[in-house]
Symmetry: C2
Subunit: 489 residues, 2 copies
Amino acid sequence: MKHRIMDIIQEKPWLGWTIFLGTIVVVFLIGLLAASIMERRGEADLLVQVEPIADWEPRNEVWGENYPREFETYRQTADTSFLSKHGGNGTIDYLEKYPNLVVLWAGYAFSRDYKQGRGHYHAVDDIRETLRTGVPMPGTCWTCKSTDVPRVMNERGVGEFYRDTWTNLGAEIVNNIGCQDCHDPKTMNLRITRPALIEAFERRGKDINLATHQEMRSLVCAQCHVEYYFKGKEEKYLTFPWDEGFSAEDMETYYDEVEHVDFVHALSRAPIIKAQHPDYELYMTGVHAKRGVSCADCHMPYRSEGGVKFTNHTITSPLATVSTSCQTCHRESEENLIRDVYERQDKIEEMRMRTEDALAKAHMEAKFAWDKGAGEEEMKPVLQLIRQAQWRWDWVAAANGLGFHSPVEAGRTLGAAIEKANQARTLLVRVLARHGFTDPIPLADISTKRKAQAYIGLDMEKNRSAKQEFLSTVVPKWDKDAAARESKY
Amino acid sequence: MKHRIMDIIQEKPWLGWTIFLGTIVVVFLIGLLAASIMERRGEADLLVQVEPIADWEPRNEVWGENYPREFETYRQTADTSFLSKHGGNGTIDYLEKYPNLVVLWAGYAFSRDYKQGRGHYHAVDDIRETLRTGVPMPGTCWTCKSTDVPRVMNERGVGEFYRDTWTNLGAEIVNNIGCQDCHDPKTMNLRITRPALIEAFERRGKDINLATHQEMRSLVCAQCHVEYYFKGKEEKYLTFPWDEGFSAEDMETYYDEVEHVDFVHALSRAPIIKAQHPDYELYMTGVHAKRGVSCADCHMPYRSEGGVKFTNHTITSPLATVSTSCQTCHRESEENLIRDVYERQDKIEEMRMRTEDALAKAHMEAKFAWDKGAGEEEMKPVLQLIRQAQWRWDWVAAANGLGFHSPVEAGRTLGAAIEKANQARTLLVRVLARHGFTDPIPLADISTKRKAQAYIGLDMEKNRSAKQEFLSTVVPKWDKDAAARESKY
């Protein structure tokens, strides 16, 4: 046979070259085939649903039957042990850790209770249990807590949802933040279910339907991880203050124009804007956003299991998943990368501490000035500076990630906060001097949460027992009604 | 002939396979050869000197005969037109641009004249011409200006060099910063010629001889681009305050321990530390240093010309050489990269402006307090805060790069400066109130350099004519003596 081939080659020498070149081409194609075999099947190939998901299905476990990997990783947001490795357990008591906060929020429910956020899986439990809730609150407060929200909004109308009371809606809202919030149940495409984001885009002259898939991988998060307020005394219409832009100054311009005040401070009487969690806005000023890295790229990195590539739905700090979150771009050791994050956060925290210290003192000193007979007119510039400082501080402090989403912008904003808080204190010394007081202003001991809460006059026993009453009477009724409703699905 | 080969193959079939595999091996080797031919010859291969360079040769043009590419690029530091594209022309008058600086430096020569640094090629001209020089100054002031320094230090001894007067040494120091400062004339290896850096390493228990080549590509710059002071009233011994570390706080600890004061402020009487240009220290806190990127990687990127790869000695902003400086690592458009740098710098500049404004006012208000009869004791904490604030501000402001070398650390440090400058102002209001003054403190108009210099009592006409006198009498004599000396080389 060998000899037979050689005979042919001898007769037709061009044939030898053809075989030679042909071999090269075939080997190349075999390589392509091998790559194709080894390639992981993407999520998109797995769309066949065991059982079709109903349009407004709020139950994450029902979606989970079709998408077990996404659901299992989502369910792991129940576990807060990662957070304990990194300085928390998902329930750090921030008021205990930073007692100045109690004073900063005197006159507002945050002074009673403010803990580290736990995972999405705990959203409903956490809002029920915090000492901040149970008091009269609008339906709007449920907006970001549950997959039931799109369903109820669809049934009743968006405006009606916001306008209702939080207590009235309690029995409707029982499923934690999950699948329905971000996905179309038929196509699994990302979709925006919360009107406030769509409306904010519209007011900026933008059509959110034109967002790319990569943009959507941040925008679904921006439905909730943003700054917002409740517009209208009755309407309580959830609104993002984005009309002027995303920076602390831009949003302040908006709030000043609409004369928005979240609360009048109980000590200083400053008209305070309480920041929510402007994660998306701060992130947008940082380098990751500039490079087209989405929220999901870091917080929901791709994984593979059994040859299937899927998105990790255990949404938490990317420090829990450095190898898939960071190291896909940053070829540095995990140790180095974590240290780099901590270094930035430590610097921002130092600036936060400077601001919180000055702000807490400014509030207390302002109260002292009022007590000494200071007048409205002379206090006006003081209160304005306190409002500006506290807003800038909160714009950084309330956002997740301790400033890491954009450390230079966080520092710049805190720099302005430090200036304004201290300028307020300078003015206060002059106000007091004019009322005959030139000694150092005596300040209360607010070195612990307990002392600070006592100083601002909170009756924590009463708050706690009211919450117990609420949890043992109202909540069980909600759960019973919800179970009855869901049994009919 | 074709048929003859086929005959042989038919007789010895293994020969066909040998030719086939042999061809593959040969083609591979030809590939290696081609790569070797196309490879650029490195600088190290070009060590044969046309004429050997003498041990302490200060003249850059003599070195340049052997290393024309390095010399030509070095000589281009004469051209400051790049700087003009990026907001300067190499001679921005900072006092004109930021008149607050005049007040910050009242009582110190920087209040007379402070311009943007030009390239290394202008070092000697610039120090001769600035209005800051001509007054009694120690020899130490020449240390970083010239390739003549290692020669004169070798001839006279280091301590003698520092102790001499600046005017006495003028005829010796005529060649601009250049080759001798960083290179061994025989091997062209990088070497440290300035004792202060070696001594600072020793005091930190480190041997600079163990530095890697990559570390040396920053350390040769750190001979001068650092914070330093002149130790000893007579000795004026050039010393880096690195014993406690590199941060503003670490160096302040050192300075406080040795009770160092650069000048007592003419208005506030605060004991000020004047920062030099802690470029290396700020850079060491940033991510480029953490990733092992040296000064030279960005400021002296590799180039090739005529197949020879060499280091670009046109040391200036890397924004002039984005493609070789930045884009070797950062695969982003030049436009994006430059915008990213400017964004960081703008944020840091905003914080600088806040600090400069507060500091200038604090100095003027302190003077007002002294004038109103304030006492030493009550002013002590005020002056301490001003010292701390101004040092932190200057640690960032005096460094090149507008904070870009480490934006988060620059922001953190400025945050502390903003706090302390404003705290000083708060105390001053109370001091004044105790002396019966509770109005807003009247401040002079310092909105231009001219107004600010008049306010602090500078006779600029006198300064300028003294400088003209110096340039037309002393300097020509220096040059004549130097030419006579060099003609004997």
